[in-house]
């Protein structure tokens, strides 16, 4: 049985623990043993995007220490963006520990990427009778090549997938951008919510909690109307596992 270390992310840990639990259930349904390295905190991405790489480096070193010391086959996270921080930015950021950074990056995967590309699991046994549309979160899509994995997993549940236009356009979150440029940020969320609404789907599924928090926050602010409910892929898949929903 493959052994996976959960890289939970600070957002899931502190704000969306249900999604973290759903991630564990999905991984276990795929036949994986999950361990949780309790000393982990945050990958450091907020500081890097704020323009403070030295602060980010401090967190990156801690992250490497924690996961380097964890005996596991893979490190899996329910966030394409946090996975991209480790895989795309760590090797350059932690230049004095290049080998460590590369080793941890090589073992780090986003949830759907791990299930489909590494385990070769297209169907985790969840069954759903609903209509979904997908928002491709930027860092997972452009830094890690994500997109088809989530669609494969969703289709296997029996759910109907209706693609929205511009599924690959940014939702406007952007970390510090969302508070530095709130007007443009909100406008991009409106465009995304509008595109999703035209699909008449029940859910807008994505792999990044920060995008979903931004989209759901905007949707609730302006009144949800008939717009699809933003939901994390782990939450949706877990809801379709037997005995749940």
């Amino acid at each position: 049985m493959p052994k996976v270390a959960l890289f939970v992310t600070c957002v899931a840990d502190q704000v969306f623990p249900d999604t973290a639990e759903a991630t564990v259930r999905v991984l276990e349904a795929a036949g994986v043993q999950v361990v949780f390295p309790a000393l982990q905190t945050c990958c450091g991405q907020p500081a890097l995007t704020a323009g403070e790489p030295e602060a980010a480096l401090r967190l990156a070193r801690h992250h490497l220490d924690v996961f380097d010391a964890t005996d596991c086959d893979a490190i899996v996270t329910p966030s394409g963006s946090c996975a991209a921080m480790v895989c795309h930015h760590y090797p350059e950021l932690v230049s004095d520990r290049h080998a460590d950074a590369r080793a941890v990056a090589a073992r780090t995967f986003e949830l759907t990427q791990y299930l489909v590309d590494v385990l070769g699991v297209d169907d985790i046994g969840a069954r759903l009778d609903t209509t979904v549309t997908v928002h491709d979160a930027c860092h997972g899509m452009r830094n890690l090549g994500l997109g088809h994995q989530m669609r494969t997993l969703l289709t296997a549940t029996g759910a109907t997938l209706v693609e929205m236009t511009e599924a690959d356009t940014c939702c406007g979150f952007g970390g510090v951008f969302s508070v530095g440029f709130p007007e443009v940020s909100a406008r991009l969320a409106d465009a995304k919510i509008g595109h999703a609404a035209t699909t008449s789907a029940e859910f807008m599924v994505s792999g990044d909690l920060a995008c979903l928090m931004h989209l759901d926050g905007r949707r609730r602010k302006v009144g949800p109307g008939s717009a699809p409910r933003p939901i994390h892929i782990a939450d949706l898949l877990a809801s379709g596992l037997s005995g749940r929903r």
Binding site: V8, C10, D13, Q14, V15, F16, P17, D18, A20, E21, F36, A38, L39, Q40, T41, C42, G44, A47, T49, A50, G51, E52, P53, A55, A56, R58, L59, R61, H62, C138, H139, R142, N143, D168, T169, C170, G172, F173, G174, G175, V176, F177, S178, V179, G180, F181, P182, E183, V184, S185, A186, R187, L188, A189, H214, D216, G217, R218, R220, K221
Partner: protein, 460 residues
């Protein structure tokens, strides 16, 4: 940066200007109308992924020995009777060109659309020297009459609606014109025809310059570039130093790559290849051809992590796919170059004096990096510039540094992380400074019990 230009999108900083742009209904209408067209242009270019690799290789080969290729280009040009001038600053370039024009008694100058001449603010310099400078690309002509600067490298007047364009042209014409594309174009065409015939000097940019043959390549869709380079007695081309390519054969890749990424065209309507001034026995062409090599801090980027920015071919693909650009348009950047490439180039070409806040106005979605035909990692450059640009607001910068340094100290230990997140829970997410978020979005509260505590309970 707005000297001599009307301010279309006001505001003291990039954030303020983006907020104005988003709230401007006329601008939003203009953007909405053309949004699809721009996006289509960029996606239609995706058909040739291997071209990108070849083009990127050609550009990097050039940058590896930029000075060497420039010397070879100068030699080839000189051999063909072209006069080469080297300008290290915009002021140098302006002086060279104004002096050339004065010495020839020039009164009217026609210009073909060129970002390099925007960069050195040449039009205003010529006017200040008592000459009339006329933009001859239709979009650029509209922008000039409006007293503005282009809002897009390829489609300069894309921020204007058709009725606005009618008003601008009708004011110039002194008669009423219909809100009709053909009628407006016909009027401008007639007017510009007279300017071409009257002009003493034609000024253009350069899209590519082949070092081996000394050939200047110029791309236009309206034929105005060819008019500017053949009718007036003198042609002056302003060439930023990175426009050199090693061989004429490289044009075979670079040219269709440029046009497909710029407008979705396999080839532009006009491609002008210039190999020197008119020679004895030839009928067409100028008596004199001058090329001004413009450096403006470009060579200081060589050998730095921003060197690859010099591979840029000014196609505009990164603007067309940028979610921020598509919603705020070019004037919000208050700079010659806008969009993702402008966020990188503006602070770099000004040594940080201009556009220091531009890199923050990005969602870091990396759509620009994906769209770039020569594979410049624009998203990564925008991110690293946030740390590398010397910020004008040093007090703010110092406070920010203190905040993140305290944060990093706390969160790099499990104890500090536990303590600060517990404080966050007690305050139920009511952290000061979050109004920027809650003004447009609801904020979820921290969970009563974080995942790590749930896990510890369940797994002992």
């Amino acid at each position: 940066m707005s000297d001599g230009h009307a301010i279309a999108t006001p505001g003291d900083d990039f954030h303020e200007r983006t907020a104005h742009a988003v709230a401007n209904p006329v601008l939003q209408k203009a953007l909405h109308n053309l949004d699809r067209r721009l996006r289509t242009a960029s996606t239609s270019a995706a058909a040739h992924p291997d071209w990108k690799d070849r083009a990127a290789a050609i550009r990097r080969e050039t940058l590896l020995d930029l000075d060497g290729w420039l010397d070879r280009l100068e030699h080839s040009l000189t051999t063909r009777g072209v006069q080469v001038h080297r300008a290290s600053t915009p002021a140098d370039a302006r002086r060279v060109i104004v002096d050339l024009a004065r010495a020839r008694g020039a009164r009217t100058v026609v210009k073909s659309k060129s970002m390099a001449t925007e960069e050195i603010d040449l039009g205003n310099a010529l006017e200040a020297a008592g000459m009339t400078s006329v933009e001859t690309d239709l979009g650029e002509y509209i922008v000039q009459l409006a007293g503005e600067r282009p809002s897009h490298m390829i489609t300069p007047a894309i921020h204007k609606t058709l009725p606005q364009i009618r008003d601008i042209l009708a004011r110039e014409a002194g008669t009423d014109l219909a809100v009709d594309r053909e009628e407006l174009t016909r009027w401008a065409r007639g007017r510009l025809r007279g300017e071409f015939l009257r002009a003493d000097i034609g000024i253009t940019g350069v899209n590519f310059a082949a070092a081996d043959t000394g050939t200047l390549v110029l791309v236009t869709n309206e034929g105005n570039g060819r008019f500017c380079t053949t009718v007036p007695r003198v042609h002056i081309a302003v060439m930023p130093v990175e426009k050199v390519i090693p061989r004429l054969a490289d044009v075979g890749i670079m040219l269709p790559l440029l046009t497909s990424h710029a407008t979705g065209q396999a080839l532009s309507n006009y491609v002008t290849m210039i190999s020197g001034p008119r020679r004895e026995g030839e009928v067409d062409g100028p008596d004199e051809l001058h090329v001004v090599f413009l450096d403006n801090r470009r060579r200081t980027l060589l050998g730095t992590k921003y060197e690859e920015m010099l591979a840029c071919i000014r196609c505009g693909a990164c603007l067309n796919v940028c979610p921020v650009y598509r919603n705020v348009s070019g004037h919000a950047y208050d700079a010659v170059y806008s969009g993702p490439m402008g966020k990188v180039l503006t602070p770099l070409l000004s040594g940080g004096a201009e556009g220091a806040d531009l890199p923050y106005g990005s969602t870091l979605c990396h759509a620009c990096s994906d769209a770039c035909p020569v594979k410049i990692p624009l998203g990564d450059m925008i991110l690293s510039l946030r740390a590398d640009v010397p910020d004008a607001h040093t007090a703010l910068r110092r406070r920010r540094r203190v905040f993140w340094s305290v944060w990093a100290r706390a969160w790099s230990t499990p104890r500090g992380y536990r303590l600060t997140t517990a404080l966050g829970r007690v305050s139920r997410g009511r952290v000061p400074g979050l109004r920027a978020w809650t003004s447009s979005r609801e904020l979820p509260r921290p969970a009563r019990e974080p995942f790590r505590d749930r896990w510890a309970k369940e797994h002992g």
